[in-house]
């Protein structure tokens, strides 16, 4: 199983995302200007400030050459994980429903949060425990959707760091193969930083993809 981690100018969590993926499978970087996905089995769009987050977070990155291929890959059922800025990009690209708005507090939040898995049957959570402890760090993380959406992760009661609708921390598309979340699983993969719960997201993807490969 091979993960591809996309790098845009301004991405900053790419190295941690690559490291996290390599703890469960193979992984390599994908460059924003290169539409070739190099035969990866799953795409990770990591956090950061792609193209400076000018205009709106994720609005410009959505038109990068690599994104045209990611959209094609996703529409063909490929597994796509968007973390933080990656979540914002996937919403802007229309691969996920809804949008991310500035935190209600207008402040940058950076802390460990407790998450509740709302759907443990997805390709992204099948190996996860019921609750996860994973850090968040963002200014634009208030999830909003005018329509009901498939919720995968919620902030535990009292833990909502940004004012998101219904405590939503992560959502997937109707088909269930594209997932975006504001918390950073790639920063929770080693006991050194207090939790390895983030690894279960990458492990879930690996299990899902290898299951498909056996068919």
């Amino acid at each position: 199983v091979k993960f591809g981690v996309v790098r845009f100018p301004g991405t900053c969590d790419d190295v941690d995302a690559l490291d996290a993926a390599k703890r469960v499978a193979e992984a390599e970087f994908l460059w924003h200007a290169d539409p070739d996905l190099h035969g990866v089995d799953a795409v990770v769009i990591p956090g950061g400030f792609s193209y400076g987050d000018y205009l709106r977070a994720g609005a410009i990155a959505r038109f990068a050459p690599v994104m045209e291929s990611v959209i094609e890959f996703a529409n063909a059922g490929g597994i796509v994980l968007g973390i933080c800025n990656g979540f914002q990009i996937l919403c802007e690209a229309g691969l996920l429903p809804g949008a991310l708005l500035p935190n209600t507090s207008l402040k940058f939040v950076f802390r460990q949060v407790e998450l509740v898995v709302a759907d443990a049957t997805t390709p992204f959570t099948r190996a996860s425990p019921e609750r996860l402890s994973i850090p968040v760090k963002h200014t634009t993380g208030r999830y909003y959707s005018p329509e009901p959406v498939p919720v995968v992760l919620r902030y535990a009661r009292g833990e909502n760091p940004n004012g998101s609708q219904d405590d939503i921390a992560g959502v997937c598309n109707e088909a269930g193969n594209v997932f975006g979340l504001m918390p950073h699983p790639e920063h929770a993969v080693d006991d050194l930083t207090g939790s390895t719960d983030g690894l279960t997201i990458f492990e879930s993807i690996k299990q899902h993809v290898s299951g498909h490969a056996l068919v």
């Binding site: 708005l101 209600t104 207008l106």
Partner: protein
């Protein structure tokens, strides 16, 4: 042609920036200001103004969370 696009947070969506500004005004001694909203102003030269709505829908605006208003034929900035 110089055009202007005014982008506003959609009605009904919480606008913490507007609220923060609204709270700051009385602190400076200004009274009677209410319903403050903070948006974005985009000015551009366009050859074909008929393309402006598509530009808004595809890039300049996120129609899910923002409303926009196009103003055509605005004066060019001095010095631009």
């Amino acid at each position: 042609m110089r055009a202007r696009v005014l982008v506003r947070p959609k009605a009904g969506i919480l606008d913490p920036q507007g609220q923060a500004v609204e709270r700051a005004l009385p602190a400076l001694g200004f009274s009677g200001a209410a319903n403050v909203h903070v948006g974005r102003l985009i000015e551009l030269d366009v050859e074909d103004p008929a393309q402006l709505p598509a530009m808004c829908e595809r890039l300049l605006v996120n129609p899910l969370i923002e409303d926009y208003e196009i103003v055509e034929s605005v004066p060019t900035h001095a010095g631009t």
